[in-house]
């Protein structure tokens, strides 16, 4: 069904794009002949392309939204039953299977370089899912998330350096320490919201980084910690090549674990409290939800994943220094959450891949790659300000026969 208002909207978007790209696509200053070239053909191409893209995009998502329905995990005899549309489930299963199979064979086909890139992307998937708890679900704008990433990385770096503790011992420890730091950050910001919260968390991130940079006795300052152990496989030391593959599989497992846990948290009593907090703080309290506990648990459970990924990062690169934990990282992770769609697991996952892989594969464009990157972000926000996937809520089905009590 093509209606007029859709066409009009797409037309407007294409005009807007022609205008936006006018300086770079149409005008070209030729410094040798000292003339300005006007490339009008480019403008027409941009207009046509954005028109078609916006039109196709809109239709695709309209269709998707119509078919949306989520099922419950509850299997009670009479009131609740699982809503399974058989072929939809089959489609989902086969999709998951293909994804899983290609993930398994991937490292055996592609080079170690490619494997490393995907591993990095997976790290950001987990980071995005973690921050999603704080920002997307609980609605607490945290601009210092990288601090917890740093805490995890330095936990492993220091514990390994001083006490020789291995990766597997520190993985849970790093997560726990980061969670404690999450609570530490949570206490002073309990009364803050919105912009004020953002500023304080931004400061918190900087405090952690600057401390690490200047406290030489503790963290060896800007020179960082080198020779951190890679994760071992049952005590075996692996070659560089096979270590990359091993870490890749570890990351796959950790990502699946994260998705599993975050999904369960989201649809639980705690998850609803987080959502309620995001939606309306006053009403949330009036419904008997303890605001303090809810906020602290969101900060702690968000930080946990960053701590875990910090340990992973230290183990993967074997070298850490404060330069890896700048505000740029926090901004990147926040972009993943916003682009993915606040509160949506699949959206955040997709966004992490887009935002991490794009700059990598745009390397061919050398200096222009960041420009492209920015353009793509801007395009996204124009077409779909709510993010790739807007958080679908769980739907509950009830027996209609039951309604006549």
């Amino acid at each position: 069904m093509i209606n007029f208002s859709d066409i009009k909207k797409s037309l407007l978007i294409s005009v807007w794009f022609m205008f936006l790209t006018f300086p770079i696509m149409v005008i070209r200053v030729n410094p040798i002949d000292k003339i300005v070239e006007w490339r009008w053909l480019n403008m027409i191409l941009v207009g046509a392309a954005s028109f078609i893209a916006s039109f196709a995009w809109k239709h695709y998502f309209d269709k998707k939204e119509k078919g949306k329905s989520v099922k419950t995990f509850l299997k009670s005899g009479h009131t609740v039953f699982i809503n399974n549309i058989a072929d939809k489930k089959r489609f989902r299963l086969s999709f998951a299977f293909i994804l899983f199979a290609s993930a398994i064979i991937f490292p055996f086909i592609f080079s170690a370089y490619q494997v490393n890139i995907i591993t990095t992307a997976l790290v950001y998937v987990v980071l995005g899912l973690g921050l999603n708890i704080v920002v997307g679900i609980a609605g607490l704008l945290d601009l210092g998330y990288v601090a917890f990433y740093a805490v995890g990385a330095y936990s492993y770096g220091l514990l390994n350096h001083h006490f020789g503790l291995g990766f597997w011992a520190v993985l849970p420890a790093g997560a726990l320490i980061a969670a404690l730091f999450g609570i530490l950050l949570g206490f002073p910001v309990l009364r803050l919201r919105g912009d004020y919260l953002a500023i304080v968390t931004l400061g918190f991130g900087e405090i952690i980084r600057i401390t690490l940079e200047n406290w030489n006795e503790f963290s060896s300052g800007p020179s960082g910690i080198a020779n951190i152990q890679r994760p071992s496989l049952f005590g075996l030391e692996l070659s560089l090549q096979s270590a990359a593959v091993y870490i890749y599989f570890l990351m796959i497992a950790l990502t699946l674990f994260t998705v599993f846990v975050v999904k369960r948290l989201q649809n639980s009593r705690i998850g609803r409290a987080w959502l309620a907090l995001r939606e309306d703080e006053t009403a949330c309290e009036a419904m008997g939800i303890n605001k303090t506990k809810t906020k602290l648990s969101a900060f702690a459970l968000g930080a946990t994943w960053a701590g875990m990924m910090g340990v992973m990062f230290a183990a993967k690169t074997t070298f850490i220094n404060p330069a890896s934990f700048t505000f740029h990282e926090s901004a990147m992770i926040l972009s993943i959450v916003v682009l993915g769609g606040m509160g949506s697991v699949s959206g955040v996952t997709a966004a992490a891949f887009v935002l991490i892989l794009l700059p990598e594969y745009l390397r061919a464009f050398s200096d222009f790659r960041m420009l492209f990157f920015g353009a793509i972000l801007v395009i996204m926000m124009i077409f779909r300000p709510q993010g790739l996937v807007s958080g679908a809520r769980r739907a509950y089905r009830f027996n209609k026969a039951d309604d006549k009590i």
Binding site: T72, F73, L74, S76, T79, V80, V261, R264, L265, S268, R269, I270, G271, R272, A273, L275, A276, E279, D280, T282, A283, C284, E285, A286, M287, G288, I289, N290, K291, S297, L301, G391, R393, R394, A395, Y396, F398, D403, I405
Partner: protein, 261 residues
């Protein structure tokens, strides 16, 4: 005397403005008490003091629960809700991006206790509790006549239904005392009549007390057992609906000196 709630000498100041002045009010078990008064009389402020959103400057608020009587003045809101006072808001404050059933389920929060571990591992107790939450919530939604909207986002509901959903959400906390702040505001006459029925039904079914702020006099007269009248932060009258409608002080407060017969 079986008072559920006793308020004595309540005072609330905003800077120089005394919004509540030495207010006394008693709510009996199982009664519907209407609180009326001109705009700015301090009715909403009174609710905010009762529910812990504001901390009163002085005075005592005493709630009698099955576990005994206790003073609740100055306790944080979520504790007061757990003790048994639930409310709705004058300007609707739902969780707009949550579904209808999720709104109500959020109300069950203080009566359940699945923690983080329970949420992740979904042990037998956690699943049982979650199931109970879903079923109880759905029950309440049906009572409120919102069954066809279960999975709809709260913000997509028609205005009248949003008001009902707020009541449903408050009921989910299993209150002893339900505070309704102008529940009929903005409703048409048919919706007001339905609301009238819903409120009496709630009282009879759940055996709870209801304190109701309302401007719609027809609604007030038809459902309330007693009426209290406030003006400038003070209680100026209290009594049966028919007494109040003949009370000269009340008429003066509402309509002005010249209308008093």
């Amino acid at each position: 005397m079986d008072n559920l709630l006793s308020v004595n000498g309540l005072i609330m100041d905003f800077g120089g403005l005394r919004a509540l002045e030495d207010l006394d009010l008693h709510v009996k078990k199982g009664e519907i008490l209407a609180l009326i008064g001109p705009n700015g009389a301090g009715k909403t402020t009174f609710f905010n003091c009762l529910t812990g959103i504001y901390r009163p400057a002085a005075g005592d608020i005493c709630l009698t629960t099955p576990g005994g009587s206790m003073s609740i003045a100055g306790l944080p809101p979520h504790v007061i809700t757990k003790k048994g006072i639930a409310r709705t808001f004058q300007n609707i404050r739902l969780f707009p991006n949550m579904t209808v059933i999720e709104n109500v389920m959020a109300g069950r929060h203080c009566r359940t206790n699945t923690g983080i571990a329970g949420a992740i591992f979904r042990g037998r107790a956690a699943v049982k509790e979650e199931l109970e939450v879903v079923e109880r919530s759905y029950e309440i939604i049906k009572k409120a006549g919102l069954a066809r909207y279960v999975n709809e986002l709260a913000k997509n509901l028609p205005y009248g239904e949003q008001r009902r959903l707020e009541i449903a959400r408050a009921l989910a906390t299993e209150p002893l005392l339900l505070l309704l702040d102008e529940p009929a505001a903005g409703l048409n006459s048919r919706e007001t009549k339905e609301l009238d029925m819903l409120i009496s039904e709630i009282r009879d079914l759940y055996k709870i007390s209801i304190l109701l702020i309302e401007h719609d006099m027809k609604l007030v007269m038809s459902i309330s057992d007693r009426v209290a009248v406030m003006d400038y932060g003070k209680k100026i009258a209290e009594g049966r609906p028919d007494e109040i409608s003949r009370n000269s002080t009340v008429i003066k407060a509402y309509l002005g000196e010249e209308f008093v017969a």
